[in-house]
C-alpha cells in the first residue's frame, strides 16, 4: 500500500512539474503578432509586484500587440543572474540596475541603451498641468541626477528611477501614546531615556515583556548609525574636501587617511564611534548578525519601539504591524547635548537627493517599445498607481507628496559611508563587532582599524586609478564621434555643445586621475 502511494505521489509530482513548465513556457513565449517586454527586477515587495502586474495589464490594453512579463529575482542571486543573462545574450528587455553589482559600469556602457534622445523630450504619458510638455528628465524630483540614472563619467542617461531613496525612523504610535504621552520626536539624549520610560510598569498596562527603544538588525542599526555618525562628523565635510566643492566621496576620505588628515583616533571620528557604541545599548544584543526581517518582526511584535529603514519599508511595516506606524527624524544628538553637542554643526539632511529602483533598457530590436513602457510607468496614471499600491515616495515630481513628508534639510549624511565602507570596508566589517562587544570598545576598535585599514585603502586607491584610466579610454571614441557629428555644423556658427561638455568632463577627470597618481608618488605609494 505504501509503495503504491509512493508511486502515485511520483506520478502526481511529475504531472505537476510538467504543467508548471508548460505554464512558464506559455508565459514567456510571445504569441504570433505580439512582442514581449520582459522586466527583470529584485524588488520583491508584494506591493511593487502587484503594481507592476497592474501596470503591465494597463499597458497591454492600450498596446494589444505587446505583452509585459515580470521577472522577479531574489536580490541575493541577482548580480550573478544579471551578468549571466547579459553575457549569454538572453537578457530581458528591461532590467533593474543593481548598484551592488561590481563591474556594472562596463555592462551598462556596452549593453544598455543610452536614453538621451528620449529624456530630452516630453513623456507622452504625462497629462497633468504641472509637468505636461516638460522634458521627461525634468519631471523627476532629482532631475535624473542619480548615479544609476545618469553616468557622469560617460555623460549619458542610462536609467529611469521609480522611487526616491533615503532612510526614516518608524515608531509604534500606540506605544508612544500609552507609554510616552504621545511624543513624536526625540533627540539622542531623550531617546536614551526611553529604555526606562518604555519599561516602567506603571505605564506598561501589565505588559511585562521588555521593550527596547530600537529594533535589532544590521539593517536598522546601519540606517541609525549613518545618521548618528553623520551628526558629529560634519566638520570633516570641510577638512576632507580636497576639491573645495563641499562634496565628499570615498576618494577624498581614502586619500585624506593616507596623508594623515584623519584616522580612527581623530576626535570627531571617536565621537561618532562612541555614539555608535552607546546607541547599541538601546538595541538587543546580536544586532550585527540579525537580518532586516528579524528586526522588522521584533518591531511588529511590540518587542521594540522603533525601527530604522528606508522610506519604502513603511508599506511593509504597516502591513505586518497591528498598530499604527508613524515616521519621524532619527534620534541624533543636537547642539544641546552635553558631550556630543560641540561636534554638531546643524541637522543631518533627510532629503536623500537621489532616486532609486532604477530600470534600464537593454539594446535590442525592442528597445523603442521598452522605453515606451518606461515612459508609461512614469506617466501620470502609473505614478499615482505606484503611490497608491506601495505608499512609497515616488521619483516623479509631486509637490503635495513632498510637503506632506516634511523632510529636514541639513548637512549630508555621507560621512559614515565614506569613512567606513569605501576603501576599508573589509577591515571595517571584520572588526565592527569589537566596537560593540562587552569586552570591546572604541579604543580597541580604533586601534585595530588604524592598523588594518592603510593596506586596504592603498589597494583601493590603486584600483580607483585603474577605473579612472579605463573610463578615460572609454570616452575617446565617443569624443571623436561627437566631434565628427559636429563637423556638419562647422561654418554655420553653431556650437558643438555636446562635444564641449564631453571634453570638459574628460579634462576634469583626467586632471583628477593625474592628481591621484601624483599623490601616490608623493606619499610613497606609487603604482
Amino acid at each position: 500500500m505504501k509503495v503504491q502511494f509512493g508511486y502515485g505521489l511520483i506520478v502526481v509530482a511529475t504531472i505537476g512539474a510538467l504543467l508548471m513548465t508548460r505554464k512558464n513556457y506559455v508565459a514567456t513565449t510571445t504569441q504570433p503578432g505580439t512582442v514581449t517586454i520582459r522586466v527583470a527586477h529584485f524588488t520583491l515587495d508584494p506591493q511593487f509586484r502587484s503594481f507592476l502586474t497592474k501596470a503591465g495589464e494597463a499597458y497591454e490594453k492600450i498596446h494589444p500587440e505587446v505583452r509585459i512579463k515580470q521577472m522577479d529575482v531574489p536580490r541575493q542571486v541577482y548580480p550573478q543572474w544579471q551578468r549571466t543573462q547579459i553575457i549569454g545574450e538572453m537578457a530581458p528587455e528591461i532590467m533593474q540596475f543593481a548598484y551592488f553589482n561590481s563591474g556594472v559600469e562596463d555592462m551598462v556602457m556596452h549593453r544598455f541603451t543610452v536614453l538621451d534622445s528620449w529624456v530630452e523630450k516630453p513623456n507622452p504619458y504625462r497629462d497633468d498641468d504641472q509637468t505636461k510638455g516638460m522634458a521627461w528628465r525634468d519631471t523627476f524630483l532629482d532631475g535624473l541626477n542619480s548615479r544609476d540614472a545618469y553616468n557622469d563619467k560617460l555623460r549619458a542617461y542610462f536609467g529611469i528611477p521609480l522611487i526616491m531613496g533615503g532612510y526614516r525612523f518608524f515608531y509604534n504610535e500606540k506605544m508612544s501614546r500609552e507609554r510616552l504621552g504621545g511624543e513624536e520626536e526625540w533627540n539622542f539624549q531623550q531617546f536614551k531615556g526611553l529604555v526606562t520610560r518604555l519599561n516602567d510598569p506603571s505605564v506598561a498596562a501589565g505588559d511585562l515583556r521588555p521593550v527596547m527603544p530600537m529594533s535589532t538588525s544590521n539593517y536598522s542599526s546601519y540606517s541609525w548609525f549613518k545618521m548618528l555618525f553623520g551628526s558629529v562628523t560634519q566638520s570633516l565635510l570641510f577638512s576632507l574636501d580636497r576639491n573645495y566643492d563641499l562634496q565628499i566621496a570615498g576618494r577624498d576620505s581614502a586619500l585624506g587617511f593616507l596623508e594623515g588628515r584623519w584616522n580612527y583616533h581623530t576626535e570627531e571620528v571617536q565621537a561618532g564611534l562612541r555614539l555608535m557604541r552607546e546607541s547599541s545599548q538601546l538595541m538587543n544584543p546580536g544586532f550585527l548578525q540579525l537580518q532586516k526581517p528579524d528586526g522588522i518582526m521584533e518591531f511588529a511584535q511590540n518587542r521594540s519601539f522603533g525601527v530604522g529603514g528606508a522610506h519604502v519599508d513603511l508599506t511593509y511595516l504597516e502591513e505586518l504591524a497591528r498598530f499604527e506606524v508613524k515616521e519621524a527624524s532619527f534620534p541624533v544628538p543636537d547642539q544641546t547635548h552635553p558631550d556630543y553637542g560641540r561636534y554638531v554643526l546643524g541637522p543631518v539632511s533627510e532629503l536623500a537627493g537621489s532616486s532609486s529602483l532604477t530600470l534600464g533598457v537593454l539594446r535590442s530590436p525592442l528597445q523603442e517599445q521598452a522605453v515606451d513602457f518606461l515612459q508609461f510607468l512614469t506617466g501620470s496614471e502609473m505614478v499615482a498607481l505606484l503611490r497608491e499600491e506601495t505608499g512609497w515616495r515616488v521619483s516623479v515630481g509631486d509637490l503635495k507628496q513632498e510637503s506632506k513628508l516634511n523632510l529636514k534639510t541639513g548637512y549630508p549624511d555621507v560621512m559614515y559611508d565614506v569613512i567606513n565602507t569605501r576603501g576599508n570596508i573589509m577591515a571595517f566589517r571584520q572588526n565592527a563587532y569589537r566596537l560593540h562587544e562587552r569586552d570591546g570598545g572604541v579604543e580597541i576598535f580604533a586601534e585595530k582599524m588604524d592598523q588594518e585599514a592603510p593596506a586596504e585603502i592603498r589597494t583601493w586607491v590603486k584600483s580607483q586609478t585603474t577605473t579612472l584610466r579605463r573610463t578615460l579610454r572609454q570616452q575617446e571614441m565617443s569624443i571623436v564621434a561627437s566631434w565628427a557629428l559636429g563637423l556638419s555644423q562647422e561654418g554655420t556658427g553653431s556650437k558643438n555643445i555636446s562635444l564641449d561638455g564631453f571634453l570638459e568632463v574628460n579634462n576634469r577627470q583626467e586632471a583628477e586621475y593625474r592628481g591621484i597618481l601624483r599623490f601616490m608618488m608623493r606619499n610613497g605609494h606609487s603604482q
Binding site: 556602457m109 556596452h110 541603451t113 543610452v114 538621451d116 524630483l141 532629482d142 541626477n145 557622469d152 549619458a156 574636501d241 580636497r242 576639491n243 573645495y244 566643492d245 563641499l246 562634496q247 546643524g346 539632511s349 532629503l351 537627493g353 539594446r363 534639510t409 541639513g410 548637512y411 549630508p412 584610466r469 579605463r470 578615460l472 579610454r473 572609454q474 575617446e476 571614441m477 565617443s478 571623436v480 564621434a481 561627437s482 566631434w483 565628427a484 557629428l485 559636429g486 563637423l487 556650437k495 558643438n496 555636446s498 564641449d500 561638455g501 571634453l503 570638459e504 568632463v505 579634462n507 576634469r508 583626467e510 586632471a511 583628477e512 593625474r514 592628481g515 601624483r518 608618488m521 608623493r522
Partner: protein
C-alpha cells in the same frame, strides 16, 4: 580586419553618420558596418571611424589598440589634408597618453603636430589642455612655487572660450593640490567669468569659488559665487551648507 559586417546589426546600408551616432552612444559593435571599407569606396572618414570602433570594442585588448594605431598612422601619413587627419593625430596622441604606459613624450609630439598642422581645429585647441596636464605632471613633487609659476606662464593657451575654461580649471586643480589657494582662485574665477561651464559642473565651480575665496579672505567674491549657486541650483544637496557659509560670511562683515 575582425568581422566588420558580422557585428553590425543596426544599419541596413553603410552610413558613416549612423556609425558616428552609434559610437557617440558607446555602441562600437553597431557602428562597425557603417565604416566597412569593402561595401563602398574607402575614405579618410571611414578609416577614422574604424579606428574609433577598434578603440571602443569590448573587451578592450592590446591588439585592438594596435589595429587602431595602424589605421591612424596610415591616415596621418596621407598627403591630403582633412579634418579626419587632424582627428587621427588627436587619437594617436590619446593612445600614447592614456592607452599606453609611460609614453607621455610621444603623446606630446602628436599633440604638438596636431596644433601646428591644424591650429584652428577644435581637437587641436583641446590638445593645449592635454599638453598643460603633461607639462605639470612632469614637474617633480617638491617643485617650488616660482618654477610652477614659470611653467604655467610658458604653457600654450587655447583660443576657444570653452577650451580656455577647461584650461583654467585644470590649472586650478593642480594649484589646489599644491595648496596655492590664491593663485588657484584666479583660475577658478577666470573659468567662472568665461561662463562656459553648465549644469552640475557649474554648480561645482561656483561652490569652489565660494569656498576658496572664503579661505583666502575674499568674502565679497565668496558671497557673490554662493548667491549665484543658491539661485541657480535650489535643489542641490549642498544648499544648506552654502547658506550656512553665507550666513557666517554676512555675520563677519564689519
Amino acid at each position: 580586419m575582425i568581422g566588420w559586417g558580422s557585428e553590425a546589426t543596426a544599419a541596413e546600408q553603410p552610413n558613416p553618420r549612423h556609425g558616428w551616432e552609434m559610437l557617440a552612444r558607446y555602441s562600437a559593435a553597431s557602428a562597425a558596418l557603417d565604416f566597412d571599407p569593402e561595401t563602398t569606396v574607402d575614405t579618410a572618414e571611414k578609416q577614422l571611424g574604424r579606428a574609433a570602433v577598434y578603440l571602443g570594442k569590448y573587451p578592450q585588448t592590446p591588439q585592438n589598440v594596435d589595429q587602431a594605431t595602424e589605421l591612424l598612422e596610415a591616415l596621418v601619413s596621407q598627403p591630403e589634408r582633412s579634418d579626419y587627419q587632424a582627428a587621427a593625430y588627436y587619437l594617436l596622441a590619446r593612445i600614447e597618453h592614456i592607452f599606453q604606459e609611460d609614453r607621455e613624450e610621444q603623446a606630446a609630439v602628436y599633440y604638438r603636430q596636431l596644433r601646428s598642422a591644424y591650429p584652428e581645429n577644435r581637437l587641436a585647441d583641446n590638445a593645449a589642455v592635454k599638453l598643460a596636464m603633461l607639462q605639470l605632471h612632469a614637474l617633480p613633487s617638491d617643485v617650488d612655487d616660482a618654477t610652477v609659476k614659470a611653467t604655467i606662464a610658458r604653457l600654450e593657451r587655447p583660443f576657444l572660450k570653452s577650451t580656455l575654461s577647461d584650461f583654467h580649471q585644470v590649472l586650478a586643480a593642480y594649484l589646489l593640490e599644491r595648496g596655492e589657494l590664491a593663485t588657484a582662485l584666479n583660475h577658478l574665477s577666470a573659468a567662472q567669468n568665461l561662463r562656459m561651464v553648465a549644469g552640475k559642473n557649474r554648480a561645482d565651480l561656483l561652490v569652489q569659488v565660494g569656498r576658496v575665496a572664503t579661505l583666502v579672505e575674499q568674502p565679497e567674491k565668496a558671497l557673490s559665487a554662493y548667491l549665484s549657486f543658491v539661485k541657480e541650483f535650489p535643489s542641490d544637496t549642498r544648499n544648506y551648507m552654502v547658506i550656512e557659509e553665507m550666513r557666517k560670511l554676512e555675520e563677519a562683515r564689519p
